[in-house]
Symmetry: C2
Subunit: 519 residues, 2 copies
């Protein structure tokens, strides 16, 4: 794409056509500047088929804020909209609306609260709360969902890989299989969720982290094609990178050629006073080969050389590999813990595309409209009770029990004070008959999750650094029950409504049903 | 992301770290400008689980070329690389290499042949052939795979939806669920593969197509919350868009509220001399509701109003919906063909993420190195025969049989002339015992697929427009056997090697095995 076109495609016109046709309708009716509230939330955890997430990691906010601060309707954008015609050849957008868009078509009137990046989040909880003039709040939907859905999806997968991988060093390698420039946001999200580094050079520098990498099969192939050997290729690499020498050992034959040649080169490095870094296995039975590699490296006096695994890794096959190592390593005279502690994971395709569930179904729903100085809660009926959004302006409170574990997220009306409720009533979001009572004495902490980000387009929030976001994530994941973190069949974390929010929701549902002739 | 950072992340540093460490190694050894050839190809069709593709649609080339023509190592990029240090704190890149990169770090030395966008393509066939200096040809890998993998993945899915959807109007709606800015490339690929339009405003204008859209549930909700009705919302929309009036009918209750209200508004429009466009169904049993909607619209005198379906559509559930309509429409006194002919599809998440198989496994493999004025073919051994790339510089020929159907793609050495072979020998790519003979009298056409794109960095190819690329796709898909286009269990299209290429490959495999002590 040409640079000029990129500005068009990535700016304020990164939206769906219906946002603009609706905005014009609101403008025509004089509703375009009416204050409204949209909530952004997702309805269910990613379900990867054989396994499913029991929590998500929130991500994507900072780059969304950057976009919002820069996006506006330029003259060029207005000219493109002016050129649009409908079925009969008449112009779709009128000059009054275009002139309003040119002047007011930006996000300076938007206020935004959000759950910070890195925090553990759950379904049906508002993650992002947008208040502002109807037309621009509507136009924001597409970009907001696009950026927040994807980064949260990948941060979640990365957190699972980090957990199942027992916290071993974990590198993101997926650029070549991502959706075009989505690779960049994907790498950022992976780094928030659990990856330690990425191979992606540009985004690493943008985020202030060193990029990581080794070499490809093609390097060994170049040597072979020029009549030289794998050993000579390894030696050349070691000479240039003596202190960062990680060798890919499966170009010819892992056990018969790659590892023996790597060991020769490691011995040479050691004699020169360098500490070899390790090897990379990129094909075959990675658990079996890890055990064999560990035995060979140990026998040669390199018990600390790491063993990097790559090739279609995700949390499921990582779990299989680690289980197999636990079972088989002892038979080969190896301590499985020692072996696992030297593993490094290179994770590509299946992380950056969230293989198994390639989209988070985050939505953006109208929950209130300000009319005659009053916020009026909005409802949307659905035949599936779980799909009816929670109305009105709300706060989310996370409740920690005596074990200092998060035991529930309570969604309240904004003005409620759950610290003063005793007992706290936790209503199941859809099932009338289910509720739970929690006494203050059993609660060690109640913490509000939504914080102020934008007030009328002004940033009122200190954006945390990537290391700070990671610390947030680590602290939150540590306070989850083990059951919620399971690979498969996780415990269902409680997301509950306060009694008042529950009542309001039921009243609104009944009102719509009655006006629709349903009793 | 800030604009300055975006330039860093999307420019030449959109690459994997190992490409740069290998490039430095080649520079140190004086191999960096040695001419080499890499082939880009994929190894298998997308496999969506319950169904699988039997062909792919090639896409992504034009924007890759744009990127290649603009990417180079800027001073800022060099400064970032200079800042990188290894484990011991020493700099990773030396000044000689950085200085070479600053001067020569661009793609002006690259020659490129490719199969044009929109063409049907198959596994293990070179889609893109890169020749050029080793260091820069290596650095290109990440961006090339990133762009071509994704657009081909989505164009393929779009072609399937178009085929299974019987060619009905098909709109791409997926921006909110794509990987960040990947939505833009995804929309382009969908438009190449089979979508008629996209809702994405920016990319529509970039590509010269009108964006399409209707309205969301939120519009009806705004009216309800302000004490007005669904009917008033529809009426307001119809007043502003009288000739493009497509109404979303499932905000309250599709059959009891949405469709009756839409019909009232359509009657008003008709009295004013406008032709109503139709309705959109976004939830529930879409086949059942389509039938009911058609009956109601017909009875009201709107047999031409279209019925737009959305909500997690893909080729599989579209096939289910159309099958159900065929079975059930007659029982309701409807001609199923008439009903299907008024359907429009809005396809979001499952297209833009290629749900079921979220990445195309395209790879980029060294196949030749020029040494002492000779091209030396390169090989890479794998324990899986199907993963050994085809060596040397090649051409791909598509063979059409007497039915004017594509019957095989023959991969030959570049200097071979299959038009002069009689019979043409088609070797199975891995199975010694399998081959097929085709006599010239049974062949109506043999067509080379790879065309010259760049010669030494100069574009020598007229980039086709989107409509021209679509025509290419339509012509190619029309020449496929029906079996190859099946939703499930497609026929396996023949991709074959010429006898000479087969022989060369076997010789190279034996040579490596012998040098490795294997007989």
């Amino acid at each position: 794409m040409k640079e000029k076109d990129q500005k068009t495609a990535e700016g304020i016109l990164f939206t769906d056509q219906y946002q603009l046709t609706m905005a014009q309708l609101y403008h025509r009716l004089g509703l375009h500047e009416k204050p409204v509230q949209f909530d952004h939330f997702f309805r269910d955890y990613p379900d990867y088929g054989l396994h499913k997430a029991g929590y998500c990691i929130n991500a994507g906010l900072e780059w969304l804020l950057d976009w919002m601060q820069n996006a506006y309707f330029r003259d060029e954008d207005i000219a493109l909209l002016r050129s649009q015609t409908g079925r009969t050849g008449k112009k779709i957008f009128d000059e009054n609306f275009l002139s309003w868009l040119r002047q007011h078509g930006n996000f300076s009137g938007i206020s935004l609260r959000a759950i910070p990046e890195g925090r553990v989040v759950h379904p049906n909880v508002p993650l992002t709360v947008v208040q502002g003039p109807l037309a621009m709040a509507q136009i924001l939907e597409t970009a907001l969902l696009n950026q927040l859905n994807y980064q949260t999806l990948v941060a979640t997968k990365a957190a699972r890989i980090h957990e199942i991988g027992r916290g071993q060093l974990f590198l993101e390698f997926g650029a070549r299989r991502a959706q075009d420039k989505g690779a960049i946001a994907g790498a950022r999200a992976a780094l928030i969720g659990g990856a330690d580094f990425t191979s992606n050079v540009g985004v690493s520098h943008v985020l202030g982290l060193p990029p990581k990498g080794t070499h490809a099969h093609s390097m060994v192939q170049v040597f072979l094609t020029l009549g030289m050997s794998e050993l000579e290729a390894f030696r050349a690499y070691a000479e240039i990178y003596p202190d960062d020498c990680l060798l890919l050992v499966d170009t010819i034959n892992t056990l018969e050629s790659g590892i023996p040649n790597a060991i020769k080169v490691f011995e040479e490095l050691q004699r020169q006073g360098h500490k070899p870094m390790g090897i990379r296995l990129d094909s075959g039975d990675l658990a079996y080969l890890s055990i064999q590699a560990a035995k060979m490296l140990n026998a040669a006096g390199f018990p600390e050389a790491n063993i990097t695994l790559s090739n279609e890794l995700d949390e499921l096959n990582l779990w299989q590999i680690l289980t197999q190592i636990e079972e088989e390593a002892p038979r080969h005279g190896l301590d499985y813990n020692d072996l696992i502690k030297r593993l490094v994971y290179g994770v590509g395709t299946r992380l950056i595309t969230s293989a198994g569930d390639s989209a988070l179904g985050g939505v953006y729903k109208l929950v209130a409209v300000r009319n005659e100085e009053q916020w009026v809660p909005a409802i949307k009926i659905s035949e599936t009770a779980g799909k009816i959004p929670n109305p009105a302006n709300k706060q989310v409170w996370r409740i920690y029990d005596r074990r200092h574990r998060a035991t529930a997220d309570l969604v309240c009306l904004n003005e409620e004070a759950p610290r003063e409720m005793d007992p706290v009533v936790l209503r199941h979001p859809t099932d009338h008959s289910k509720y739970r009572l929690l006494h203050q004495q059993d609660i060690v902490e109640i913490e509000p999750l939504l914080v102020d980000i934008f007030r009328d387009g002004q940033l009122v929030y200190d954006l945390p650094s990537i290391p700070a976001i990671r610390d947030t994530r680590k602290a939150d994941v540590a306070r989850l029950d083990a059951g919620v973190k399971r690979l498969m069949n996780p415990h269902i974390y409680h997301v509950s409504l306060s009694q008042r929010l529950w009542n309001l929701k039921q009243e609104l549902i009944h009102a719509v049903q009655e006006s629709n002739g349903v009793k």
